[in-house]
Amino acid sequence: MAQPATTAPLETYLTHLARGELAFQRTPDGTPVFFPRLVAPRSGETDLQWHVSAGLGTVYSATTIHPKGEPSYNVSLIDMDEGFRLMSRVEGVDPHAVRIGMRVQVRIASDKDGTPLPLFDAIPQQQASS
């Protein structure tokens, strides 16, 4: 069977997730890129390099979603220390307790269908300040 000429960026991303890693890209000058792409925005460079995040970030914004008849849950935008942003959920705390500016750490969990998913846990404050 013929193989695709190019590996899809999403496939590489998911492969990293399956290994327990949150991956992102950098352009040759080090600029972080997320979501993963074949072509760097603005510069058009195609030699993007993959990196694995250390997994630490800060909540940039947060909302608590209230579905009818279901438990409420958090959805946040997380600014990673490496300089990229992604959407995720902060779990393990009451969704209303998730605050902008809160320090969080990634945990690769599984979605209902088994797909690996990067979720976040709040970092206890004394640990965050150390």
């Binding site: 940039y60 914004s61 909302t63 959805v75 935008l77 992604l86 902008i100």
Partner: protein
């Protein structure tokens, strides 16, 4: 580069289709066609005069094609730009340019949606984004909620100020006979209504209704012979900030900060010259963002601007005088209805909600999740 001639094109006909609930067997193109003949009626033009078709609907993949088929048109210029609720300001910008270049003479811009009758999920299937969808954001509300939460964090904007946007929209809607909402709304009612995506309650979210509209645009020269007072397009501006909310670099500043100055520069006027502003109110946070980004107030001061009736009737600025997407009608892509209200206000046709001085109007459209931003500035013949 040649700049477009200021006011070189004018709106000569506008109309809504039936609004509200049109029933499950009405199609979006039925509504486009219905609005088209109503818009033609008020300017004395006929279907045969139309030589350019601009159309978009979340339910119709090939808008201009389906509308041309329905109406039996043979347009020489077509544009089906689909960038959400701001599509129609974009259509207008392109129509003005095409008229100016002689590529067409009479442009039809049309919209139709039956999302209320067929259900919103059937009308606009959510795009799957592998970097967002698995986290189950309630789109589009959660995207706007994230922006609102950040605005509150950075500038101290309050839920009461958000609520006052909904209250003002309702006050205007009560003056508009075709507005969906007919009962007064208080700040307390907004604050105590069901939370959807914190900090936005169901009353911070736009209506989900059927509806459509049409606009006829032609050259300023030809507009003089049409039935109504021509309303000139003084300037337009388009900008795209991002596609998905996780790629919006600063959640408190939209690309309206780019489209607005483009439009104002082209029009040769500033925010202080504007008599009425139709600022896309998909959610209560959006008029606050657009007041700031378009320059009606400084960044971070939008909450104070709208507080305590700031944009209600007799407030500091007439905003969303039709009652907006929050209380008049929101069929999913509301931009054309906002422009129709601008034209009617400038003609002086708005009855109980008619503003006093009415020379210059702004319609600002928003598409996606604060993604596409398009601004159109209209003026009466006196402003040329």
């Amino acid at each position: 580069m040649t700049a477009m001639k200021r006011g070189g094109a004018a709106v000569v006909g506008v109309a809504e289709s039936d609004l509200g609930i049109v029933g499950p067997h009405m199609t979006p193109v039925d509504l486009m066609a219905q609005a088209t003949v109503r818009a033609l009626d008020e300017c004395g033009l006929a279907l045969g005069d139309i030589d350019a078709v601009f159309a978009a609907s979340a339910q119709v993949r090939f808008g201009p094609m389906m509308l041309a088929e329905y109406l039996g048109l043979n347009p020489r210029f077509l544009d089906g730009t689909q960038i959400g609720g701001s599509s129609f300001m974009s259509h207008l910008a392109h129509a003005v340019a095409a008229i100016e270049l002689g590529l067409c003479e009479v442009a039809l811009i049309a919209y139709g949606s039956t999302q209320r009758s067929v259900s919103r999920s059937a009308a606009s299937p959510t795009d799957i984004n592998p970097y967002e969808t698995p986290f189950r954001p309630m789109m589009p509300a959660s995207a706007y909620a994230l922006a609102a939460a950040r605005h509150m964090y950075q500038f101290g904007t309050t839920r009461e100020q958000l609520a006052d946007v909904a209250v003002a929209a309702r006050q205007w809607a009560l003056l508009n006979p075709v507005a969906w909402e007919k009962e007064p709304l208080t700040r307390e009612q907004v604050l105590s209504s069901r939370m959807v995506s914190d900090p936005l309650t169901v009353r911070d979210c736009c209506l989900v209704l059927d509806g459509g509209g049409a606009m006829i645009v032609t050259s300023a020269a030809r507009a003089r012979d049409c039935g109504k007072r021509p309303i000139h397009v003084l300037g337009t501006g388009e900008a795209i900030g991002h596609g998905s909310i996780s790629n919006m670099s600063d959640l408190t500043t939209t690309a309206a900060a780019i489209s607005g100055p483009r439009a104002f520069t082209a029009a040769g006027v500033g925010p202080g010259d504007v008599d009425v502003a139709l600022l896309y109110d998909a959610f209560t946070i959006t008029p606050i963002l657009f007041l700031e980004d378009l320059g009606f107030c400084a960044k971070g001061e939008g909450g104070a601007f709208v507080q305590d009736g700031g944009i209600a009737p007799n407030g500091r600025l007439a905003v969303n005088t039709n009652g907006g997407g929050l209380s008049y009608c929101h069929p999913g892509m509301y931009g054309l209805l906002a422009m129709i209200e601008c034209v009617r206000q400038l003609r002086g046709e708005c009855g109980a909600r008619q503003i006093g001085r009415h020379d210059i109007a702004v319609a600002h459209g928003n598409g996606g999740v604060l993604s596409s931003q398009c601004t159109a500035i209209f003026g009466t013949p006196a402003t040329l």
